[in-house]
């Protein structure tokens, strides 16, 4: 086994372990972890199966294998960023609703307190 292969595999395994730890501790919701787990699995697959990349390169007609890796990963990252924007938008809307509801409730509560006083 090549030294670089060994390093990639080790880093990958550490990454998977870290993701699992985050999920177990409740710091990362599973639906967001899926993407990361799949990414690591891909990396792991190609660190073991070094001919795989060469095969994919020939299949897609890309001249330099590294470009295939970059294109693939940059696209995946873009899609994931878009997904994060969707998540942020949903959070914003939920926050807005909560904020409005709180201000309306506060007003009701204050009115109620004043009525009780008088």
């Amino acid at each position: 086994m090549l030294r670089i292969q060994f390093i990639t595999i080790a880093v990958n395994i550490l990454f998977v372990l870290y993701i699992s730890r985050l999920i177990i501790k409740g710091k990362l919701r599973e639906e967001y972890a899926i993407v990361w787990v799949i990414c690591t699995l891909f990396l792991l697959l190609f660190s073991f199966w070094t001919d795989g990349l060469e095969l994919l390169r020939k299949l897609t007609g890309v001249v330099v294998a590294a470009n295939l890796v970059f294109t693939g990963f940059i696209f995946a990252i873009l899609v994931y960023l878009l997904h994060l924007s969707v998540v942020a938008s949903k959070l914003y809307n939920d926050n807005k609703k909560l904020g409005q509801e709180i201000s309306l409730l506060k007003e009701k509560f204050n009115k109620h307190l004043e009525e009780q006083k008088s």
Partner: protein, 236 residues
Amino acid sequence: MPGKVLIVIPCYNEEASLPILLPELLSTKLPHGYELQAAIINDCSKDNTVAVARKYEVTVLDLPVNLGIGGAVQTGIRFARDNNFDLAIQLDGDGQHPPKELAKLINYHIETGANVVIGSRFIEKEGFQSSFARRLGIQYFHWLNRLLTGQAIYDSTSGFRLFDRKAIALAAASYPDEYPEPESLVVFSKAGLKVAEVAVVMAARQGGQSSIRSFGSLYYCIKVTLAMFFSFIRKP
């Protein structure tokens, strides 16, 4: 049909202008039979807006997070819906919209039966008219609004507007967040509401800053154009 009117006043750091605006507003005479109540929506101000507002006979809705003008106005509209108001009128907290002009909006609503009445600076050229660049932008939105809604609204960016029950129900359910004025008109006309415009005289702001300033104005134009376009193609 007379009824209860809620004046929705979105405020961000308006402690300086409220003591001028509120006494004037609370002593304003509305057309016969209409009863005025004011709601200050404090959009998480950094100054004493809430303390200042509580000195007057007004409802104070205190937002725990800063929602921007759209979210703040919607809070007031939701209050109007929940408390069974017949009309809601948005009036900016910075003193640009003189309370004595309120009667014009209500009378125009009674005359025309329009669901939304906008107080416009441009039908008659009187009072504060704002800078050239801003008027150019307003021209552009006038054109875009006519294209998307088929209604000729001259002052689509004016925040001085009246909502009737139908418009209140619609805006309480969905109202744009950032720079909501031109976009909400698309939403209203798509829902089949009638939007009308009446000339009012506006003042230059007494305090605070406009939410739209120099370098942000290009962003404003692009953002609002996109928002209006997507509101237009969105299914109601």
